[in-house]
């Protein structure tokens, strides 16, 4: 059993309480919470757009909003969710909070830079919100030219600048995490004793640092073409629109791994803790994260199979796409095997974990459909793709985020939440999600194109089912906001280690001291030695 921690009445939340003490903090834990506030705001905005989209699609006619408004809604839903929720959710919120704790460090390597990243992120969001209010954006979150550089009359420039700025937050955070993991590990904390979450965050940081500059350049080129008529992409100016797609997806496909790798890391933590076992095949799970990060850079053109690339190049990218599926399959099998002969504790974080596994499984397997050249011709640009990426990026990433949030919430806030409500909301999200997005696979095979404001009447029944599911999903997401807010102020006090988990973050009080550790911890064993530790108790 883990030794009891002497509780200090002072912690990182209450040692200073002024607004300035938050806005000027260099404490990674406070910065993590500040990201949570901003990301939650972006999530609510994105969710409102989603609700309007689904309501419009309840009927085949465009009767709720105009076509121009509908196009702005799905664009701004995508921009808000991708750049301001999915990319930062796990690394910037949970990563910031737990990474230094897991390493036995006082903070990240560059605390001041960490605060700067948050400000850059907020400025990027503000510029993007400005674009949404003044003119909106209607290019789709993909900003494909020549529509984005010539055709659209919306405020593409401001939205592009917003995304450009936000990218630097990502780059700086990635850099910070990489240096932290290399330089700040506690004595004895070798690479193969690291929690798998750290491996996942490291892989993610690699993608952030290598990939994000490319999207920054690409968006800058769109801005230059739009504002100054420099001909990069528009054929009228001598450019090539397909070049944009190569550049865009060179970042934006790896960006999917920025979204899903950290939640995968979370799942490795929760599944070990609530099975009270070692993660099966630790090194395979660790290296599969790296493999995904590296292979992820080699598959971008699978978004271009019908965009006029050579069939032979399509063949190569299809092959590489199938190859990148293998590390994801390996992870899933290892998680499943971890459960075997475990002692499975049905607490709320584990329910979110099961939800993640179910949705990620469907998302991953349907990826095989769109990786298949002959099928992708029919499926691409339809609702099949919409369903597929929502299963990965929302089903997988957001379920994983909630698993992590429920797991570390007692550490972050020093409070417990209502376990039954948390389980109920995991169930509602799981059911609501499947109701919303499963019918979209069928719609996709039927041929309903994405980004359609109006659609032929025979697609209505499935769209109605999807809209009904979105309501259930909405309630599932609303519940945690209520019971977690309640918990933050009124929840039962949490002990240092309510889950009896391994890991350095559980050896200190909840919420932690401002300086995290009073004494420098020394690590003498692997990350998940549940069996060894607990024998003393039993």
């Amino acid at each position: 059993m883990i030794t009891t921690v002497a509780e200090s009445p002072v912690n990182y939340l209450n040692h200073q309480t002024t607004l300035a003490s938050w806005l000027l903090t260099k404490d990674h834990k406070r910065i993590g919470l500040m990201y949570m506030v901003v990301v939650t705001i972006a999530f609510i905005i994105g969710a409102v757009f989603a609700a309007l989209i689904r309501t419009e699609l309840a009927t085949p006619a465009g009767d709720l909003v105009s076509s121009d408004m509908y196009n702005r809604l799905f664009t701004m839903h995508g921009v808000a969710m991708v750049f301001f929720v999915l990319i930062p959710a796990v690394p910037a919120i949970l990563g910031n909070f737990v990474l230094p704790l897991m390493l036995g460090a006082k903070d990240v390597a560059f605390p001041r830079l960490n605060l700067l990243s948050w400000y850059v992120f907020v400025i990027g969001l503000c510029v993007t919100l400005f674009a949404m209010v003044y003119g909106g954006v209607d290019t789709g979150w993909t900003f494909y030219p020549p529509y984005s550089t010539d055709g659209s009359s919306s405020n593409v420039l401001a939205a592009g600048i917003g995304v450009f700025i936000t990218g630097f937050s990502s780059i700086l955070t990635g850099l910070n995490f990489m240096v932290t993991i290399h330089r700040m590990r506690a004595p004895g904390l070798t690479w193969f004793r690291l929690p798998l979450f750290v491996w996942a965050v490291y892989s993610t940081a690699l993608v952030m640092v290598l990939g994000t500059p490319v999207i920054a350049i690409t968006v800058a080129m769109v801005a230059a073409e739009r504002a100054l008529h420099l001909g990069f992409f528009d054929p009228k100016l001598g450019g090539d629109p397909v070049l944009f797609q190569h550049l865009f997806w060179f970042y934006s496909h790896p960006a999917v791994y920025i979204m899903i790798l950290p939640p995968m890391g979370v799942i490795s933590e929760t599944i070990a803790c609530f099975s009270r076992k070692n993660v099966f095949g630790y090194s395979f799970v660790a290296f599969s994260s790296l493999a995904i990060a590296i292979f992820g850079f080699l598959v971008w053109a699978h978004h271009l199979f019908v965009a006029g690339i050579s069939p032979y190049s399509a063949m190569v990218f299809s092959f590489l796409t199938f190859a990148v599926a293998i590390p994801s399959a390996v992870k899933t099998f290892n998680w499943t095997a971890t459960l075997y002969r475990g002692a499975i504790w049905w607490k709320a974080p584990m329910m979110w974990t099961f939800g993640f596994m179910g949705l990620f499984l469907i998302g991953g397997l349907t990826g095989l459909f769109v990786a298949s050249l002959g099928l992708d011709v029919h499926l691409t640009d339809t609702y099949f793709v919409v369903a597929h990426f929502h299963y990965i990026m929302v089903g997988g990433a957001i379920m994983g985020f909630f698993a992590g949030l429920h797991f570390w919430w007692p550490k972050m806030t020093g409070r417990m939440y209502n376990d039954n409500l948390a389980k109920l909301s995991a169930l509602l999200v799981f059911i609501g999600f499947n109701m919303t997005f499963f019918p979209q696979f069928i719609l996709g095979y039927l041929g309903m194109p994405r980004r359609y404001h109006e659609y032929p009447p025979e697609f209505q029944v499935l769209n109605l089912a999807s809209t009904a599911g979105a309501m259930v999903l909405g309630i599932g997401y609303l519940l945690p906001m209520i019971y977690l807010t309640y918990s933050f102020f009124k929840g039962e006090k949490a002990s240092a280690n309510p889950w009896l988990a391994t890991g350095l973050e559980w050896t200190i009080q909840s919420p932690p001291l401002p300086q995290n550790f009073l004494v420098q911890p020394v690590v003498t064993e692997g990350a998940y030695e549940y069996s060894k530790r607990e024998i003393k108790v039993a």
Binding site: D138, T139, G140, Y144, Y147, D150, G151, D234, P235, S275, R276, K277, N278, F280, G281, Y282, F305, V306, G308, P311, S318, F319, F322, A329, T332, T336, A337, L339, Y340, R341, G342, A343, W345, W346, F354, M357, L361, I362, L365, L368, L373, G374, L375, V377, D381, T382, Y445, L446, G447, P449, Y452, H453, Y455, P456, E458, F459, L462, W499, Y530, S531
Partner: protein, 328 residues
């Protein structure tokens, strides 16, 4: 139309059953793996449940044979799917030699089709059943995508270049035609209908229109109007190369490279003549960018095609580069 929930689109081309077979195979494979994992997770979660939180799991850390097994099995399954899907893909992107040619331009927010015999239509495409049809198209403004779900084909329409889809319809009827690449305000209104007709009905439809003359006749008219004919003299003595038999042949360029004279090449030679200069000719041809619209370019291409295609004629033209290249 709303009776029952549709689960499966009509399959009305020779490609559709190939794509559907792949789809059902993948459904089977993925359902197998999904059910396997879900059943195992649920079984373990229930069998090994312990709500005290105090028990520990068995000290198992991993198994190399299992890791190898569950890496290799999915890999081989994936490779099988890859090979099959790629074979289907090559059927989709490689049209047969003899096709009925239709040309199209996408523009916000309509599809315009031109038949070789002269008929033009908007957001409607009439084709005969049982004959391979190839639609060659481009865009006049932003990206579009020509998508016919019942035939399981689609391709992006990209300004500045040509794309094509081909299909052999197997069932008469009316099918959706969608724009599948987001193109602005009325993207969802850029839809139409494909009418697949019996051959005799198709012939009747053809004879009903076409008062403006065939595409190549229109192209020839443009060829004269824009004075192309003053330089591109058929006997090869003009300031520009003869166009007899050029289409489909291999053209030797001033850079020493060779290029196949396809639709894209002819289009480029009209709009940006200096980009690929034929060996032995001066860069004197002016650009026709802005002087001829996309439909005009397509008519000109159809006219160039009518002058004979690679190897069938025109080899007599002294400057015809293909034999020169071969002689080398």
């Amino acid at each position: 139309m709303l009776s029952g929930i549709p689960l499966f689109p009509p399959a009305a081309s020779t490609l559709a059953p190939e794509v559907d077979a792949l789809y059902f195979f993948l459904l089977g494979v993925t359902a197998f793996f999904a059910i396997l994992v879900v059943v195992l997770v649920l079984y373990f979660a229930i069998k090994y449940r312990d709500d005290t939180g105090l028990k520990v799991g068995a000290p198992i850390t991993g198994s190399i044979p299992l890791e190898i097994g569950w890496s290799l099995v999915p890999f081989f399954v994936a490779m099988g799917i890859f090979v099959w899907a790629t074979a289907v893909f090559f059927h989709i992107v490689r049209p047969p030699d003899q096709t009925l040619e239709v040309y199209s331009t996408g523009k916000r927010w309509m599809w315009r089709f031109q038949h070789v015999d002269g008929q033009r239509e908007i957001n409607q495409l009439h084709i005969p059943v049982g004959r391979p049809v190839k639609v060659t198209f481009t865009s006049e403004d932003v990206l579009h995508d020509l998508f016919i779900p019942a035939f399981r084909v689609k391709a992006d329409a990209i300004p500045g270049r040509y794309s094509s889809i081909w299909f052999t319809a197997t069932k008469t009827g009316e099918y959706h035609l969608f724009c599948a690449e987001y193109c602005g305000t009325r993207h969802s209104g850029m839809i139409g209908t494909v009418y697949v007709m019996e051959e005799k009905d198709y012939q009747a439809w053809l004879s009903g229109g076409g008062l403006t003359g065939s595409m190549s006749a229109r192209g020839e008219q443009l060829f004269q109007q824009m004075a192309c004919s003053t330089c591109h003299v058929n006997d090869g003595t003009g300031r520009g190369p003869s166009l007899l038999g050029v289409f489909g042949s291999t053209v030797k360029l001033s850079t020493g490279q060779a290029v196949k004279a396809d639709e894209t090449y002819v289009r480029e030679s009209i709009l940006t003549p200096q980009a690929k200069l034929v060996n032995g000719y001066q860069p004197i041809m002016p650009t026709f960018q802005g002087l001829v619209n996309e439909e005009g370019v397509l008519s000109l291409i159809e006219y160039v095609k009518s002058l004979g295609s690679g190897g069938t004629g025109g080899q007599q033209a002294s400057a015809a580069p293909a034999p020169a290249a071969a002689a080398k």
